[in-house]
Symmetry: C2
Subunit: 471 residues, 2 copies
């Protein structure tokens, strides 16, 4: 079902693996369950660490943005207006100024930048926050993919003294995001979005897309060069070392709950979740196999193994519930725990352990004394295998096309992403969208272009256009 009906698989697994409860009585709002929240925190922990290592500082801004400030940047509000939730009343009173639930935080953060930036010595500013944002989605909502409350939005905002620095910041952001998705084993392709799909208010937008098992792409991260657009509107001026004043150059970049969705969907299978060890809330689960008369020694042995694993810094859990081992196997397989350790009378007698891998189902018997080395090898093995598997699938879903017929054929036959030569002119991109009913992800970056003629105007082309059906 994972491959054949990914939507249903995803909805089922969210609840059955203790990730999210989708029955909250408002459309597009969902409840994070304990296991899911831990997974989400581990995933965003990696991102936080990367951002901090690259000199970003975490802050926290208010949720509410006054209408007049949200409206300052014209393109920006035009892009978001149809999706903004408005608070109009406090208690019994009508508010003088309506307050927006942030759809994104440029307009809450930049008025403070105006107070923080005086001279070149105050630059660069590199901050981020992890917050909830709100979009009044009218399309079909989906947990983690398209929500009315995006519960986890990591957004970074930077300000720089020169255009070049802002450009370098975009590159740093792309590097950080690559590193992040690489650690999660999520394959991606990077594209500069076409103008009509650029972030409202930005000079240009770069996006990361991955491919779902059904062949549709999912946008999982975006990086925007804002130029001086917002700086001019919010009066973000600084004094240069020569005494002149100039507007700052800005960038912003975001990753949402979709990172969690892509971990779940990319690595899952028909049994349920299959989590990369780095982000699995439990990395090793110990299941005692009871045997009449030996319950005590088995339990004791299991507890020792647990202590040893915890001392190694492994997130280990001993499942000593009073249910059958088979039920426990099923329970933890569904939750994607990378390794299962089984301990029965044989293992106790031989001071050994049976270890089962979630990703391959392989089981092996190891000696207790080799525990640490072997567990680390196996966790690394699971990680590598998940990365390899997802990469293989991803690469198999990318096709090179040379004309409109081929583009259509690949899109219809297997979906995924179609690469085609592109002259770089907008009208040719839009024509392809019209003709194929698919979307243009934009111009591929960071890779070797395919050469050929633009499938629309037949001009010799040096750019690569990416076309796909998307979520």
């Amino acid at each position: 079902m994972w491959r054949s009906n990914i939507g249903e698989w995803f909805n089922d697994i969210l609840f059955n693996a203790g990730i999210m409860d989708t029955r909250y009585p408002v459309k597009g709002l969902y409840v994070w369950l304990p296991y899911g929240l831990k997974l989400r925190n581990l995933i965003f922990g990696i991102l936080r660490k990367l951002l901090e290592e690259h000199g970003h500082q975490e802050v926290l801004f208010p949720l509410l943005i006054p209408e007049d400030i949200l409206r300052k940047e014209t393109e920006h509000i035009t892009g978001f207006e149809s999706q903004v939730y408005w608070v109009t009343h406090g208690g019994y009173e009508k508010l003088d100024v309506k307050l927006a639930l942030r759809p994104t935080s440029e307009t809450s953060i930049y008025p403070m930048f105006e107070r923080w930036i005086r001279s070149h010595a105050d630059l660069p500013i590199k901050i981020f926050q992890v917050v909830n944002i709100f979009r009044y989605e009218t399309k079909m909502t989906k947990p983690m993919i398209r929500m009315r409350e995006v519960t986890t939005f990591k957004e970074a905002h930077t300000a720089h003294a020169t255009e070049d620095e802002a450009e370098l910041q975009v590159q740093e952001a792309v590097k950080i995001y690559k590193n992040f998705f690489d650690q999660l084993g999520i394959p991606y392709i990077i594209a500069k979005r076409p103008r009509w799909d650029t972030f409202a208010g930005a000079k240009y937008s770069i996006a990361f897309d991955t491919i779902m098992p059904d062949g549709k792409t999912l946008q999982i991260g975006t990086v925007h060069n804002l130029g001086q657009n917002f700086a001019k509107v919010f009066e973000l001026k600084f004094e240069k070392s020569d005494g002149n004043h100039e507007y700052v150059y800005q960038t912003c970049y975001g990753i949402s709950d979709r990172a969690v969705a892509s971990v779940i969907i990319t690595h899952g299978d028909d049994l349920g979740l299959c989590l990369p060890p780095e982000v699995s809330p439990i990395q090793v689960v110990i299941v005692p196999i009871p045997f009449k008369g030996e319950e005590g020694t088995i339990q004791e042995f299991a507890k020792n193994v647990l202590s040893e694993l915890l001392a190694m810094g492994i997130r280990a859990h001993l499942d000593d519930r009073d249910i059958r081992p088979g039920e426990k196997f099923y329970y933890w397989e569904r939750r994607g725990v990378p390794l299962r350790v089984e301990i029965g009378p044989e293992e106790v007698k031989d001071k050994s352990l049976t270890i089962a891998r979630r990703d391959t189902g392989e089981r092996e018997l190891i000696a207790l004394e080799g525990l640490e080395t072997r567990i680390r090898q196996l966790l690394e093995g699971v990680n590598k295998n998940l990365c390899r598997r997802s990469r293989e699938f991803f690469e198999g879903m990318i096709s090179n096309a040379n004309n409109l017929e081929e583009i259509k054929r690949y899109l219809n036959e297997k979906g995924g992403i179609v690469r085609a030569p592109w002259c770089g002119r907008e009208e040719c991109g839009m024509y392809i969208e019209q003709q194929t009913g698919a979307g243009v992800l934009g111009q591929e970056i960071n890779s070797k272009p395919i050469t050929g003629k633009c499938p629309v105007c037949s001009r010799e082309s040096s750019l690569t256009l990416l076309i796909a059906k998307s979520y």
Copy 2:
């Protein structure tokens, strides 16, 4: 100024120590700055850990609550109605059902409890979340104390099969909160609130109050026994082992940003923050004292000390900015860093360090080889001293009174909390409020009552009433 004008001191230090920027353009909303956010995360990290150790699981519920559900429990909505922010529009559309920004989450969480609870085997449920909540405050707002967006609200919610279990849960919550505030060195008194100050919808409320330097009390934590009130409204029934159905018994308990405010205010002094080592974002700051010609060796020595401290698991920072040491001293004193290590040519020559304590200002020279032991001793010493200091002040602000005149005199002369014998009748408590212009915190619990006659009705009394002026 810390003692004489705590309000101004607090506002100044929030910005000057990098905790919060209070200039966000909406009343009652503030911006957490990086250093402040780290402090807040460390403080709530302690609370998270305690809750998890006591079997609570972290979840995350949506912010928005439909009006019809918020209105279900009559007392509850009556208590909050005047403070609820209402979302009435999404994009260009008027919403069919208004959505409240949660003022607290009983009514968002309990409809899900209804889905989760079937039988006694599903109980107890013990969950918590750390979220932003909203109150349309019409009183004067204050950062961390009275905000329109309470940015950090830890709320726990539990459901139990019996009244006794719920009662035990209240006691567990009180124990957890005591432990939490003890770790922070925040003194408190615990009171059962009078009926007119009980949480809207609860059977009774217990609250923790501390005393600010100006003698006014601040409520810093609350624990509520909800009885079956919400259970009856939200149909939270379970099947008992005998096959009968009954409503669950519930509790909830919360701690907000006020925990951060009380750490800042309780331990601060005229120089600025003075943080308990356990929650200080930086525990040891290293300041090189430059000396012509020896900058290189000093820098190298300082880096080695830094590595050693980091390897010990200490949050250490080397301040190698190009400004005078005196400026650095001032900067880090204001930020409350417990220990400062100074390294100049003498120290390098002797392989020694000068260490200065933030709390006492004492300086001492230690040998490098004794670093780990001495640093740990000093951090523990700072912690003990802060706890002792705050406890002494707190105890000095508690007075025992036997009649109305004494109550008034203590309240006027030194503020703080006045204890008085109480018959337990509401009208006597209310009369005292009227006569003194102060508030009744309620009936003191967990301590030996003072004996005597109720100052209003002169009945022999076995309860202790707490009276104070409060924030």
